[in-house]
């Protein structure tokens, strides 16, 4: 899926909030078209890292470049997907999806809305309001809203964290299907190790605060992934071990 070209580059990114060191010397190169997961315990700074990449926060030192250009602020070529609460509750599904399309012709707008309504499987719900949708459907609306402006990078910050476990599995499958269809570079933050091994080309494991990269794990299993294969379990358990958790309850 990747072209080998570097899309997003974190160069020695460190951040502190007051006296608290949040991130220390983070270096990551993300290839174009790559699906990269960032995992780590709560409060490790992984969300902060994503917000820096998205241009919502400035690092204390170091920088993030995209296609070689430093990130100075949010930009519609790189869309941040929040948990499903980022959907605008005052807009219908179609107006949410068309939200970023304010500078294209009405015709083009309609075409793109239709395209992404179908892609995320919300046909028949175009005129519905978010309050009439389930959590999973709202999350689809948000992904469609992001894709509709044709960004080249998607940032997802624990996007499925608020969903029930069955919906979460379905959403992962959907996201992989969309990623394979649209070939975006994806940076996906999660605290769910299983999720990261199911989705990612590579998993970046961040330590507890101050957040540092502990390890980068290549997930060399082709999609669709067999979740009971030996290799899957091996990789998953190695990440659990890295974080210091024996995989037992």
């Amino acid at each position: 899926m990747t072209t080998g070209k570097i899309k997003v580059r974190f160069r020695d990114v460190s951040t502190n909030f007051g006296a608290v060191d949040v991130l220390q010397h983070v270096n990551i190169d993300v290839a174009e078209g790559e699906f990269l997961c960032i995992v780590g315990p709560s409060g490790c700074g992984k969300s902060t890292l994503l917000n820096i990449a998205g241009g919502f926060l400035q690092p204390t030192s170091g920088d993030v470049t995209i296609d070689g250009e430093p990130v100075t602020g949010p930009d519609r070529r790189r869309i941040f997907v929040f948990q499903e609460r980022g959907v605008f509750p005052w807009l219908t599904v179609e107006d949410n999806i068309g939200f970023g399309l304010f500078d294209v012709s009405a015709e083009e707008r309609k075409k793109r809305i239709d395209q992404y309504v179908s892609l995320v499987g919300l046909k028949g719900f175009e005129r519905s309001y978010p309050r009439e949708l389930s959590g999973g459907m709202k999350q689809r609306v948000e992904v469609a809203r992001a894709l509709a402006v044709n960004p080249d990078v998607l940032y997802l910050d624990e996007p499925f964290g608020a969903l029930d476990s069955i919906t979460r599995l379905q959403m992962r499958r959907e996201l992989l299907r969309i990623w394979q269809a649209e070939r975006k570079t994806v940076l996906f933050v999660t605290h769910d190790i299983e999720e990261s091994v199911q989705l990612a080309d590579r998993v970046v494991v961040i330590s507890a605060r101050p957040g540092r990269i502990r390890r980068v794990v290549d997930i060399d299993i082709p999609h669709p992934r067999d979740l009971s294969s030996r290799r899957y379990i091996e990789l998953r358990d190695s990440i659990f071990a890295e974080i210091g958790l024996a995989h037992t309850v």
Binding site: F82, R85, G86, P89, W90, F99, F102, Y129
Partner: protein, 251 residues
């Protein structure tokens, strides 16, 4: 159109009126007119052409004062909500003005605008302005930051950020504040009309007492104020059912 929604309130009002009428029949008194006398009083006002004239006079003053307040308070509240420094500068002034009853402004209003519509409109404007401004400012403060971040991420131009995100995001709270402010405006118009003008429902009440102790007309004026106030509140409540604001209220 269920019995619970429409029938029970009707039964409640009918019982109240009946009890009132019976009490007046059993204890003949000049202290309180009965509902029949009040109804006849309203009929008399209608025949004399005063009913429509006074109701419209009051509604006219409320409309202009209230609309003027909306036009000033919403932009001002948006500004104060967005720019913290503006709020720090202006908020103390608003907080000092807020506890002053609009009625305390009556002498100043008459001094500035004389006896007439403008004074009354000014008082209504003042009474609605402060609560609306404060509520708008707070509503902007309470916007979920995720919505603002999304608007920034899509590079929305400033004007569209206000029209497509800021205003819809505060609308549910704003409508509640508008409802409360309209209620206050309706309370104030009556008081203003008692002093500053010679028409309207407030004037009717004072005039009916002064010109011959017509307490049936006094209570008729009170009843009209209550009924119209209820109607205004009913109209404002309908706004809360708009599809684009229902998300803001617990269902």
């Amino acid at each position: 159109m269920s019995f619970r929604k429409w029938g029970l309130p009707f039964v409640g009002i009918a019982t109240g009126l009946l009890a009132w009428q019976i009490a007046v029949w059993l204890n003949p008194t000049t202290l309180v007119p009965g509902p029949l006398a009040v109804a006849l009083g309203i009929g008399e006002l209608a025949v004399r052409g005063l009913l429509v004239k006074y109701v419209f006079a009051s509604l006219f003053r409320v409309s202009w004062g209230y609309l003027g307040a909306l036009l000033v308070a919403i932009p001002l509240g948006l500004f104060l909500g967005v720019f913290r420094r503006g709020e720090w500068t202006i908020n103390p002034l608003l907080q000092v003005l807020r506890p002053i009853s609009p009625l305390a402004w009556i002498p100043i209003a008459i001094l500035w605008f004389g006896v007439g519509d403008v004074s009354a409109i000014f008082l209504i404007f003042l009474a609605s302005l402060l609560p609306l401004t404060v509520a708008t400012t707070n509503a902007v403060r309470n916007i979920d930051p995720v919505f603002l971040a999304a608007a920034r991420n899509f590079d929305l131009p400033m004007r569209q950020r206000v029209v497509d995100v800021l205003i819809p995001a505060i609308l549910p709270q704003l409508i509640v504040a508008m409802r409360i402010a309209l209620g206050v405006a309706w309370l104030v118009v009556v008081a203003a009309e008692m002093i500053a003008v010679n028409s309207g429902l407030g004037f009717l009440i004072v005039d009916a007492r002064n010109a011959g102790n017509r307490y049936d007309l006094v209570v008729a004026g009170m009843a009209l104020i209550g009924i119209i106030g209820l109607g205004l509140d009913f109209l404002m409540r309908r706004l809360e059912r708009l599809d684009s604001v229902r998300w803001g209220y617990a269902s």
